[in-house]
């Protein structure tokens, strides 16, 4: 089953959020999901400390020398491996990318995110050449506006598409629930059904967004 790697040398781009949403939605679909938290900030470990959705297993404290064997041991029939990487350029990142069936590069619609995120895309391309095989990769824009598409976002989408970069649609909209899920653990469905969980946002809209995003990722893994 596939290995999905979240990669971007830029911190705060949405790697951990994407990992959490994909893990919980694929688990809801019936997959056994193993999430590897390779980020020293341990965002996913914090999320898991409040409770993991059924079907999700988390492994943390994975270093450069353990990443390849850990991915291989977690891989198997009916299992999806999701790797959340640190927001720096490191050998751990390059090794994880080499094991990916899909590399997702989350970036906010800003010039800075695009510039730094393009480093990850370049690294994937170079690994493809070195290994002599394709590593599927795609960009997802994160923290986009629910109301209007900014001029910068339109330009960025045009530039990336023009460069032949696969863009995942829909983008992930800036939703309070996507941030709050790290404080509550579990998944968006549980968050929506629990009146004690106060997000200050529209969880139902966030759930629709997350499911559409997961569907788009699923289509790339077939």
């Amino acid at each position: 089953m596939p290995v999905i790697v979240m990669a971007s040398p830029k911190g705060g781009g949405g790697k951990s959020t994407c990992a959490v949403l994909l893990a919980s939605e694929f688990a809801r679909m019936g997959a056994d999901v193993t999430v590897l938290d390779c980020d020293p900030n341990k965002s996913l470990t914090r999320w898991a400390s409040h409770g993991l959705p059924t079907g999700v297993v988390l492994k943390s404290d994975i270093g450069r020398s353990e990443i390849v064997p850990t991915i291989r041991s977690a891989d198997g029939d009916g299992k999806i491996v999701i790797v959340d990487l640190e927001g720096v350029a490191s050998q751990l990142v390059s090794r994880a990318i080499s094991q990916a069936d899909l590399v997702i590069v989350p970036m906010q619609p800003t010039a800075l995110d695009a510039e730094i995120g393009s480093e990850a895309l370049a690294l994937v391309k170079e690994e493809e050449e070195a290994l002599g095989r394709t590593i599927r990769h795609a960009v997802v824009l994160t923290k986009t506006s629910a109301a209007v598409k900014s001029r910068v976002q339109k330009e960025l989408e045009g530039q990336l598409s023009g460069a032949g970069i696969d863009m995942i649609e829909p983008s992930l909209v800036a939703r309070a629930a996507f941030s709050e899920i790290f404080a509550y653990g579990g998944d968006l469905t549980a968050m929506m059904n629990d009146p004690d969980m106060v997000t200050g946002g529209k969880v139902d809209k966030a759930l629709i967004n997350a499911r559409a995003f997961t569907e788009a990722v699923y289509e790339r893994l077939k």
């Binding site: 390849v68 350029a89 490191s90 050998q91 090794r95 077939k222």
Partner: protein, 101 residues
């Protein structure tokens, strides 16, 4: 979107993970600044096998001479005592041989 039968269609591509392949990946990464950023472990001294402690009291001039000799040889006082013990044992053995014991 539901049902695990949909997931059965998902496939993983075969990926070789030979030492050579990992080395190539590291080389490509290093060219882009992807270096080993694993946290270095704090250097710690290996535990000494010398765990037995003696408590000898000697005359001050003998103690100072032992201390100065160990320092000049670049060894610990314990190691010097071990050498002295080896010499003592060898001496006893020679003595026993000479006396035919």
């Amino acid at each position: 979107m539901s049902g695990s039968n949909r997931l059965a269609g998902l496939k993983a591509r075969p990926k070789d993970t030979t030492v050579e392949e990992v080395r190539r990946v590291d080389e490509v990464g290093e060219a882009r600044g992807c270096v080993d950023r694993s946290p270095r472990k704090k250097p710690v001294r290996k535990p000494s096998p010398r765990t037995h402690q003696l408590h000898p009291k000697v005359l001050p001039n003998i103690g100072e001479a032992i201390s100065a000799e160990a320092e000049s040889l670049g060894i610990t006082q314990g190691q010097l005592v071990e050498q002295m013990w080896s010499a003592y044992e060898a001496n006893i053995l020679n003595k026993d041989k000479k006396e035919g014991i």
